[in-house]
Each structure stands twice: as C-alpha cells, then as structure tokens.
Symmetry: C2
Subunit: 325 residues, 2 copies
C-alpha cells in the first residue's frame, strides 16, 4: 500500500523504516513543522534521506506539514503524540483521510479514546476503514483478538497496560526499594519520562482501557447511534505514586504482588494498583505488558509482550495494514 | 455464511450450536454414517433436532454423509477426527469444497500437518480459501497472530501445545506424584483418553508444530513450489512417559519445572520434555496451553489459554469464518 505517515517521532520513523520491507511504499512523511511528499511519478519518498535530514537539520523535507494529507496514499498512518480532550490535530488528520475514502491507521490513542463516536461516524460515511491495533499494548494481539472473536462475544478485558508503571512496581517488589528510588532509576534508564505523570498516574493505561471499552460497547450495539461512548472522564483512575514498599513486602509474604491493573467490565473502566498472585499471568515483570480477554465461548485468553517501543508499535501498525489488504 | 459441517463430534456439534448466534446458517451437518441437509428453500437445518437424533438414535438425519459435500454452502467446516498419513477422508472433504470454489475451515489437523503442499496447491486453484486456526492451540490466537505479523517475519514458535501432557506434568510437579498415578487420575477426570498415546507420546503436539513449520516455511517462500514441506516424519518427538517424579523434584529445587515443549525454529521441529523456569510464560498449569511467537520486529509475543475443548475449538473455527467475511 502507499502510505502517508503523519508524525516522525519514534513510531512514525519505525513505520517508515519497516514499511518497504513489508511491501509498502512511503509516499509522504511529515512532522509538525515540515514534510516530504513524493512527486507523483510513482516514486517513493527516500525515507533514509528524510530521516537523516530530520536528525541533522530538524526538518523532514521542504514540503509543508499539511502536504502529507494531500498526498496520493492508500492509508494514512497517524503517529503524532496523543493529545487529550478534542484529540487534535490527530482527529483532523484521520478525518481528512476518511473524507477522501482512504484508510486510516492510528498509533495515536487520542482520537480513539476521546472521540470514538466521531471516529466511527466518519468511518461510516467513508469507503476507507479505521484501525488502531497499536493504541492498546503495542504489537500484542489485543484488539485483533477481540475483533476475531467478535467484540460482542467478549465480556471483559483486564491487564497490565503501562510498561513504565510495571517496571517501577516489579522492581520495587523484587529489590525492596521505594517508589522514588526506582522512579529515578527508571528515568536514568529512559524507561520513565522526566515528567512521569502520564504513566505513573495511570492516564496512559486508562486511555487504553477507554479504547477497549469503546470497542466492546460499539461492538455489542446493534446500532452505533445507540452505543455508549466512553472518554477518559468515564474512567476511575488511581496511579502508583502511593504504593508503599511495605505494602509490597506484605503482599509478597502471601505469594502476592501489586500491579497497576486496567479493567474494562460491565460498562465500567477502572485503573488502580491491585493485588495479583505472583504466579498469575498478570504478574509480568519489567516493561512487559499483559492482557486477559474474557470471551463468551473460549474462556480467558491471555496475551503478553512488549507494549511499547518504536518497532513494536510500528509492527502493530503493519498488522493493521496487513488486514486492510 | 452458509456452513456445511463435516463431523458431528464435540467440535462439529459446538460449531453447529454457536454458529446461528454468530450470524451463520448451518445448511448441512453429517458424521461418518448419516447427515441432514437443508432442502434448498433457504431454510437452515434444525440443529437442535439433528443433535437430538444423534444422541438418541445415533444418526444425524436421513441423508447420506456425502450429501453434506454437495450442499449449497459458502464454507465447509472439516471437523472429523485427525488421521495420519494421507489424512483421509478429511483431505478429500476440503478438496471437494475448494474444487467448488468454496471456503474450507479445518479443525482437523491431519490435512494441514500431513498434506500441506497438496492443500496449498488446491487452494491456489480455487476462489475459496483454506483456514485452520483451530488446529493449533484451540482459540489461542497463534496462527492469526503469525498471519497478522506475516509468517516471513516470524523467526520461531515454541509452546506448551498439549493440555493432557501438561496436566500430567504440572500435577506430578505440584503434588510429588508419579506418572502412572497422575495419568490414571487424568483418565478418571476425562482429561486423558483411555489410550493416552496420542497425547503423552507427543504426537498431538508434534502435529501442531508441523503445522506451524509449514506456515512459516510457505510464508517465507517467494514461490510455494520452492517451500519446504514438513510432515510428522520431519519431527523429532519425545513424550512424557519417562519423566520421573524425582527429576521434577530436583528441577523444583532450582526454581525450574518440566514441560512438554514443542519448538519450531531454524527449519527443525522438535517436541520433548524440557526444563523451564517456574515463573516463565511457558510454565502454565493444568490443561492450559501457551505459545511464544518470536517476531522479527516486535520481540516475543506470548499467548495462552485453553487449547482444547468443544466450544474453544469451535470459537477458533468462528474466528476463521469471521476473517473470511
């Protein structure tokens, strides 16, 4: 497929680098200040050159950012940073693709978590489709498994959906260290951001749960106009800042540990530190993510893997592109 | 879709029972001695009546078994028992569907493990597709995840692929019991067959690994005529009969345990009892299955769940039907 990639951060770059090997052509890539668009003679963009320019001169190319939206692509890959509230400019990028009857694949959680109803309405009016595997658990097959089983036949989903929080909790438990100490260590390693709030306060996990709640809700509804739409405001969210090392020690004595668990069940969305058995499927270590999908007819299916990272997230985008072909 | 179901055992029955709720019509179902086929007026078969007749009188209906193959269906579901060698009559059923340009979905491992090349050749000449998610790990998303990532981009697969053997090993380890004792218990519980050889000697796990090897081999080949085909003869298989309780005790002292691991990597297929860490993703308990998929760009993805059972296997058939729509 011919791809236009909006966003040239870690995910956009990884999509651009992996795409040619997977049979796709990159016809445009841009970030918030610049872009490069193929000239319409059937040639792809020179991805290596574009990424070198970005690294060296801070610009992807000499075209304007919005030129990417006007390129001759089959699928638009939306890989700009997640924004809350109106989810702009990500939503507008996706809407532009759908208006032109092109597909849109999102790595950006914003539009799927905050404007799911608008997204579905725009897709309903388009010959293009919207897919967003990358927004929940990177390349772990969470959304694809729900789709294959049918969202109407999935009762609940729960999981460890933020690698940074899981790194902190699993290391606190394993080494008997306190939160501040492990957080500083995670920041040194690049596992946590300088401002860790998005991860440790549970917002990132909550966005993923809201996306799952929307998928289950719209999948079970006979008519999308009747489906309940979820946004971050509907989630009950508690992060890990107040998890005491002493609580982990106590849990450990009983074969338990604490994980930041996101849960979507019975129309509610909840993210909170929860006790889990140390040998349970959700007691993953380090930055690993895990999710349990409770199905109506096949029991509980568990998936785990790397939930973040450029290549991992790009792989999920490529999974979606595969399904669109 | 209109379904013709060949095989009215635990899997065929579960497909017939779940299908109407998932938007499908059963237009024919048969076993080795009888069948019932809808009369062509657009009506479905009365599944409940057919299954009652089978339970009470031993016949599904008054039609002949081969009448199922001639029914007016969109997809044939092959759910007869797995046979080795020429994989008949399962292979002929699938071939008949493909010759009529209809889809075929297999729960029967035989044709996929023993005649993969023939199957791919028949599919290449047909407008119908062949799918077989149910043959590896029931409803666990193993083959679907490989397909989504692209078989050419999967380096290896390993896993616990037989619930009976895993039940025996995990219970031997947990209770300090010997093989014969636990096997007898498993037979009482219905977890093991009266003749347990197919499971405990590793044949079942090996068939699943051979299927995985074929999927990776044909997926990576530029031309299907160049792909290496695997059959059970290519697998190096050792079962669990000789695993001593004392070996499990010793392993346990080092935080290890023993699992029957099937592995497909570097063009070889191997099934054998292997030491695994007790907290590893492959150290699942009871009849649970687990598989690790090593991808080129997304690290190792792990899936686990119930690998057998009527509804679980039928759910995998329904996943395939979903992807055909």
């Amino acid at each position: 497929m011919r791809l236009a990639i909006v966003g040239a951060g870690i995910v956009g770059r990884a999509v651009a680098e992996l795409a040619p090997d997977r049979g796709h052509e990159v016809v445009a890539i841009g970030d918030s200040t610049s872009a490069v668009v193929a000239d319409g003679t059937g040639e792809s963009v020179d991805v290596d050159a574009a990424l070198s320019r970005k690294a060296e001169r801070g610009i992807v190319g000499d075209d304007a950012p919005d030129d990417v939206l006007a390129a001759d692509y089959d699928a638009l890959v939306e890989a700009t940073p997640t924004t809350l509230g109106d989810a702009e400019p990500g939503f507008a990028h996706v809407a532009a693709a759908l208006e032109r009857d092109r597909h849109a694949v999102l790595a950006n959680k914003g539009p799927v978590a905050e404007r799911f109803g608008d997204l579905r309405a725009a897709a309903a009016d388009s010959a293009g489709e919207v897919r967003f595997e990358a927004t929940v658990g990177g390349a772990m097959p969470v959304l694809s498994t729900i789709e294959d089983h049918g969202a109407a036949h999935v009762d609940a989903v729960r999981g460890v959906l933020n690698g940074t929080a899981n790194f902190v909790l699993s290391r606190m438990a394993a080494e008997g260290l306190d939160y501040e100490h492990v957080l500083a260590e995670a920041q040194d390693l690049g596992v946590a951001e300088a401002d860790p709030a998005f991860d440790v306060d549970g917002t990132d996990a909550a966005l993923k749960c809201v996306i799952l709640a929307n998928v289950l809700s719209f999948g079970a509804a006979d008519n999308i106009d009747d489906a309940r739409e979820f946004t971050l405001d509907d989630a009950d969210v508690e992060g890990i800042r107040n998890v005491a090392g002493s609580a982990l020690d106590l849990a450990g004595e009983d074969g338990l540990t604490v994980r930041l668990i996101g849960e979507v069940a019975d129309g509610s969305v909840r993210v909170a530190p929860r006790l889990v058995k140390r040998n349970s499927a959700l007691s993953v270590s380090g930055t690993t993510n895990a999710a349990q999908i409770e199905t109506a007819s096949a029991g509980t299916l568990t998936v785990s893997g790397r939930g973040a990272g450029g290549e991992e997230t790009a792989s999920a985008v490529l999974m979606d592109l595969n399904r669109l072909q």
